[in-house]
Subunit: 418 residues, 2 copies
C-alpha cells in the first residue's frame, strides 16, 4: 500500500482500477443522458425518396425556357402531392403538380418552383422564373442512408439523438449500465436527518451530499445507513454494499483511534492500494479493490463534509464517468484570474473553494472565505475548486489559476447571444 | 398579431408572457436540480459547540509555559472525549483530555495540541510545544448559526445544498413547481416510431426530440400523439393539452394549404401574439396565449426536425427556465473563432450548427456542413448554434462569433487540471 501520494498519482491508480461497465437495452425514450454501448446502424434511408423542400409546384425545367416576370409560362396543375402522398402518374409536357414540403417529387418532374414565384389561375399556374434542375429538392438519403453508422458507440444521448432513433424506428437502444454506489457513514456521534441532534450529535449529511453527487453524474446511490463505532457493525454494513460497483465509506469526523474501517475492509478481502493523498481538504483518503475484481472498488473518505465532497469530485466522479462509458471524465477546467493573494505551506495540493465571475471577457476567481473542511455551507457558494499546487506557497492576486468548475450553472447566460 | 419579427423581439414577447410557477414541498433527497422557492432559515447552530478540529489533547495553555522539544511538559490524561461525547468534568491545573476530531472542547480547556506534538506515556502525555489559545478549535456556529438564512430563494439545489438541508434536519423543502409541456405533432404523413414508415410516411420524431429537450431542462413532457390533417382531430388533441403550462404543436412538414393549426387555436380562445420570426431555420413559428392566462402558452413550431429543435432552444427552453425559478434563462454563450467563411442573404438571423474545438486556449467554430433543416443528424454533431446576424451577409474565416452552447458536454475535460 502506498502512503501519502500525489493527487495525480491517486487519480491514475483509481482510474486504472476502474472498468467500463457492460451494456443493457433500454427504451429510447428513457435513454436521455445515457452513453451508447454499440453503434446505431440505419436500416432506413431518410428522406426515403427525393422530396420537396418547399411548398410550390413540381415542374419540368424544359417547359419553362424563357419564363419571366413579364412573360410567365402557364402550366396545367394536374394533381396535388402532400407529404406522405405520391404523384398519381408521370408529368408530361405542359403539366405541373401542386406540391407541399416533404412530399415526394412526382415522376417526370425535375425541379420545384416555390409558390412565391407563381400565380395560381384556376386549374392552371403561371410560373415567372426559369428554375435550375434539382432546385428545392431534398435528395433521398440527404439525412441518413441505409447502412450508415448514424451514431457511434460512446455517444452521449441528447435530444437530437433520441429524435434520430425515433426517425429510424428504434424504440430500444443499447447503452452502458450505470454504476451502483453504496454509501455508508460511520461514527457513534452520527444521526439521521430526522434523528435527535442534541448533545453534540451531528447529522450524517455526507450520505446525502454524496448520494446527490452520484445522481448528478448518473450513478445509482444506495444509502447503507450509519455504522456504529464497532468492527462488527461496520462489517455488517460493508457486507451490504459488496454487490455495488463502488463502495464509499465516509468516516465519522473521528479518525485515528476510533477508525475501524481499514482492518474490517482487509478482513473482507479488500486490498488497499493507497492511504493518504497530499491534498487539502481530504488527506485521509483510502482506496482499495478486491482481488480478481470480485467486489466493488472501495473508497474510504474523510468525514469532514467538505473533504468528503472534494474527494468524491477528484476520484469517484471521474471513475463513475469512465465506468459509464464517457470519454471526457473530468469537470470543465477554466483558466481564471485570482483576485487576491493566497498563501499556504508547501507539501499538499489545496483545492480552494472559489466563486467565479466573468468581467470584461475574463473569468475571475475569489475564495469563498473560511476554508475549514467543516464549513459545508462554503460548498453551496462555490462555483469551482481552484488548484493551488502542492509545491507552491503563494499565489498572487492577478495570477492565472486553474479552476475545476463544479457548479456548471456558472456557464448559463442571462443573455441569449442574439 | 405581429408578423415577421426579430428573434430578440420574439424572445422578449415569450418571456414577458411567461410566469414563474408557484411552489411545492418535496422530499429533500429528491430535490436535486430543483430551485428553492423560499429561503431556508436555520434552526440549528453548527457546530453546536466549540469542538476540536484535530485528533490530539485538550489542554490549558497556562500549564504549558516553557514547553519545548527538549523540555516537554507532562500532563495527566484524565479522560477521553469522542465526537458526540462530552467532557466529564472541568480540567484543572496539570490535566489534559484525549480528544478526537469533532468532539466538544471540555470545560477548562482553551486549546488543542495535535497528537504529532505529543507523546503518550501510560496515563500521562508529554507536550512539546507552547500552543496559542484557541488553536485547533472550531468555534460553535463556524458553519451555520441559528437564524441564518442559509440558502436563498432562487438557489438551484446541488449536492452541497442537499447536504446542508440534511445537516439542518430538513427532510422537506419548498421548491418551484416544474412546468408540464404538452406536445403534439400534426400531419397525415406522420407515424409513431413503431408505425409503418413505408410509402413516404415519416416518423414523428419531433415529439421525441422535443420531449427530451423538456426533460433535459427539468420540465415534464406529455406526448399527446399525432393529429391527422383535419380541424376536428387537431382540436381534439389540442384540448387534451389545455391543462398543461406550455402547449407545443409541431406541424407536419407541410405548412401552407394543409395548416389548420392557427384557426383551431383561435377557435379554442388562444390569441396569437406573433407569427413568423426572421430566423433560419424556424421562420414559421407561432406564439399565442389565452386571455387572462386561462390556459397554456402556445407554441406552433415548424415541422422540420432541426427547425423544431432550434425554435425550442430559442423560446421554449428559456421560458421553462424562467417558469422554474432560474435566474439565468439562456444557454452558455461563448466567443469563438470561425474557421471558414460563411455567406447568406440579409434579412434573417441564421443559427448555424457548429462543432466547437479548443485550440491554443481559443475556441474554434466549424459548421457541421449541410444546414438543411431536414438534416436532424447534423444536430447530433453540433456543440452549438452560431449566431449569424440578420443583417450580415458574410462572416469571414477568422472572425470572432457568438455561439450558444447546446451540448454542454463540450465543456467537460479530459484532464483533471491538477
Amino acid at each position: 500500500m502506498k502512503v501519502g501520494i500525489s493527487v495525480a498519482e491517486a487519480q491514475q491508480i483509481v482510474l486504472d482500477a476502474c472498468q467500463v461497465l457492460g451494456c443493457e437495452t433500454v427504451a429510447s425514450v428513457d435513454a436521455l443522458g445515457r452513453v451508447l454501448a454499440a453503434p446505431v446502424i440505419s436500416r432506413r434511408t431518410l428522406p426515403p425518396a427525393d422530396c420537396s423542400a418547399m411548398d410550390g409546384y413540381a415542374v419540368r425545367v424544359e417547359d419553362l425556357s424563357g419564363a419571366s416576370e413579364s412573360a410567365p409560362v402557364e402550366l396545367f396543375v394536374v394533381y396535388e402531392v402532400a407529404a406522405g402522398g405520391k404523384g398519381e402518374r408521370p408529368l408530361i409536357a405542359g403539366e405541373a403538380a401542386r406540391i407541399f414540403t416533404g412530399a415526394p417529387i412526382p415522376p417526370g418532374a425535375d425541379t420545384v418552383v416555390v409558390q412565391e414565384d407563381t400565380s395560381a389561375r384556376g386549374d392552371k399556374v403561371e410560373i415567372r422564373i426559369v428554375p435550375q434542375p434539382g432546385e428545392n429538392i431534398r435528395e433521398a438519403g440527404e439525412d441518413i442512408r441505409r447502412g450508415d453508422a448514424v451514431l457511434e458507440a460512446g455517444t452521449l444521448l441528447g435530444p437530437a439523438h433520441l429524435g434520430v432513433l425515433a426517425s429510424l424506428g428504434r424504440s430500444l437502444v443499447q447503452v452502458h449500465q450505470r454504476p451502483i454506489v453504496a454509501i455508508l457513514s460511520g461514527g457513534d456521534e452520527l444521526v439521521d436527518p430526522d434523528g435527535d441532534a442534541a448533545g453534540g450529535r451531528i447529522v450524517s449529511s455526507n450520505t446525502y451530499s454524496l448520494a446527490a453527487q452520484c445522481r448528478e453524474v448518473g450513478a445509482e446511490p444506495i444509502n447503507l445507513g450509519i455504522a456504529r463505532d464497532s468492527p462488527e457493525d461496520l462489517e455488517r454494513l460493508l457486507r451490504n454494499g459488496l454487490r455495488a460497483d463502488f463502495l464509499v465509506s465516509s468516516a465519522g469526523v473521528s479518525v485515528g483511534d476510533h477508525d475501524y474501517v481499514r482492518p474490517v475492509l482487509e478482513k473482507l478481502g479488500c486490498r488497499l492500494l493507497f492511504w493518504g493523498v497530499l491534498m487539502k481538504p481530504g488527506y485521509p483518503l483510502a482506496f482499495g479493490r478486491f482481488e480478481q475484481g470480485e467486489g466493488p472498488l472501495v473508497f474510504g473518505l474523510p468525514g469532514n463534509p467538505v473533504s468528503a465532497m472534494v474527494t468524491f469530485e477528484q476520484y469517484i466522479r471521474p471513475a463513475i464517468r469512465k465506468a459509464t462509458g464517457h470519454s471526457a471524465w473530468f469537470r470543465p477546467v477554466v483558466r481564471a484570474r485570482l483576485t487576491e493573494t493566497l498563501t499556504k505551506k508547501a507539501g499538499r495540493l489545496h483545492f480552494v473553494r472559489v466563486q467565479l465571475a466573468e468581467r470584461n471577457g475574463r473569468i475571475e476567481a475569489t475564495s469563498t472565505g473560511n476554508q475549514s473542511s467543516g464549513v459545508l455551507r462554503s460548498m453551496t457558494l462555490a462555483h469551482g475548486l481552484m488548484v493551488f499546487p502542492a509545491d507552491a506557497t503563494e499565489m498572487k492576486a492577478g495570477a492565472e489559476v486553474c479552476v475545476q468548475v463544479i457548479d456548471e450553472q456558472f456557464f448559463a447566460s442571462t443573455e441569449s447571444g442574439v
